[in-house]
């Protein structure tokens, strides 16, 4: 092999660089983040398993049906009626997205841009527990 030394050094650097997320965060990340569930209602629009797998699809569905097709209510698998609205249905219970939605999103590095426009009734001031830099990064 030509330039053996340079190649081996390059391979080692490559491995170190691309495995950085693993060894840099060793011990710091929990497999499942602690999310704050709402205290009043026990059940969501659908079951926990369904929501975990399908909440984004459901929200997009609701968005298109509400805005583009003018439908108002969603009938869940139990036959209950829910208003198709992120603000008035979901965020009514999951009031603080930072402690619920974003905890998982940040862990898996999912960045939906809903929050640019949709704002819940968030009574809590994020700057009480987080630095301004963190607030800006997650906003």
């Amino acid at each position: 092999m030509y330039n053996t030394n340079k190649v081996i050094v390059g391979i080692v650097v490559f491995i170190i660089f691309f495995s950085m997320p693993f060894w840099l965060n060793f011990g710091k990340v929990k497999a499942f983040p602690e999310i704050e569930l709402p205290t009043d209602l026990k059940e969501c629009v659908e079951s926990r398993e369904y929501m975990r797998a399908n909440h984004m699809k459901m929200l997009l569905d609701w968005r298109d049906q509400k805005v583009r097709e003018g439908k108002v209510y969603y009938i869940n698998s139990k036959g209950e009626y829910y208003l198709m609205s992120l603000q008035r249905t979901c965020l009514k219970c999951h009031q603080h997205r930072g402690h619920f939605c974003e905890r998982c999103h940040i862990t898996v590095s999912a960045r939906p841009d809903c929050w640019k426009c949709h704002k819940g009734p968030e009574e809590i001031d994020c700057s009480e527990c987080h630095t301004p830099k963190e607030v800006k990064r997650w906003h």
């Binding site: 583009r68 003018g70 603000q87 704002k119 009734p121």
Partner: protein, 255 residues
């Protein structure tokens, strides 16, 4: 010399391609027309509004209506007058109806103020030009703005003859004091306008401005001869903005 077989085949091939191309072009044009036909109201309900300009007397009358809409919909109050966002606002007769304005009309009309908003036209130029169908006309006549899809090209603002559309030149949340948690805000770089409160009329309620006007604004189904708006238009003299453009606006002004 007789036509060579190869040349004949080439000719056939070219004609075939041209034929298919023309058909596709025809289909495309036909489809466009088909869509244009669809943007006009086809349903049983056609929402319209009639504003009785005679009974709006004080500044407070107007502000009650405007604030009801703007507060509920989180419309930011931008201090820059050139770039403000206004879903419903007050303007003079001269600016609202520039083509019928005349120096010899009555003083009363000249001094009167008019509430202007999106007219939810029956033949809306803004719907025709939107490249992503972010702005579209529902079957019941409401011209909806889907903020999830708007790419901010501002073509609809160029097309609207009434200046009813607003681009978010500034981040709106910087200029919102109290955010209504029941309605989203918008973000930079999208176009917004009056929605005829379609989220409320879908639930059987009246638009915020109509409710706040306490009877000064009529709203209803134009196709229903017994609706308040139909009666208001039938019994009074009404004008619309820029009728010569045949956009068929659905906001009527009782003068």
């Amino acid at each position: 010399m007789a036509l060579k077989r190869r040349d004949f085949l080439k000719f056939l091939g070219l004609t075939g391609v041209a034929g298919i191309g023309a058909t596709l072009g025809g289909v495309l044009i036909g489809k466009g027309e088909h869509i244009l036909k669809e943007v006009q109201t086809s349903g049983k309900v056609r929402w319209a509004m009639a504003i009785d300009t005679r009974v709006f007397k004080t500044e407070e009358d107007f502000q009650k209506v405007i604030q009801a809409c703007h507060r509920a919909h989180n419309v930011p109050s931008i201090p820059d007058p050139l770039r403000e966002v206004k879903w419903i606002w007050v303007d003079t007769f001269e600016r609202a109806f520039p083509t019928i304005e005349n120096q010899y009309i009555s003083d009363d009309i000249k001094k009167r103020k008019f509430l202007l908003l999106c007219n939810h036209c029956d033949n809306p130029p803004c719907v025709r030009v939107c490249p992503v169908k972010a702005t579209f006309k529902r079957h019941d006549g409401v011209v909806v703005q889907d903020l999830h899809r708007c790419i901010g090209c501002k073509f609809c603002m160029a097309a609207c003859p009434y200046g009813a559309r607003n681009y978010n030149f500034y981040p709106p949340r910087e200029f919102l004091k109290d955010i209504n948690p029941e309605y989203p805000t918008r973000t930079l770089g999208v176009v917004e306008k009056c929605t005829f409160c379609y989220e409320r009329i879908d639930e059987g309620k009246l638009p915020y401005c109509v409710e706040a006007s306490e009877g000064k604004i009529y709203f209803g189904n134009l196709n229903d001869p017994k609706s308040s708006v139909r009666e208001a238009i039938a019994k009074n003299i009404v004008i619309v903005r820029k009728p010569e453009l045949t956009t068929k606006p659905m906001v009527f002004y009782i003068i």
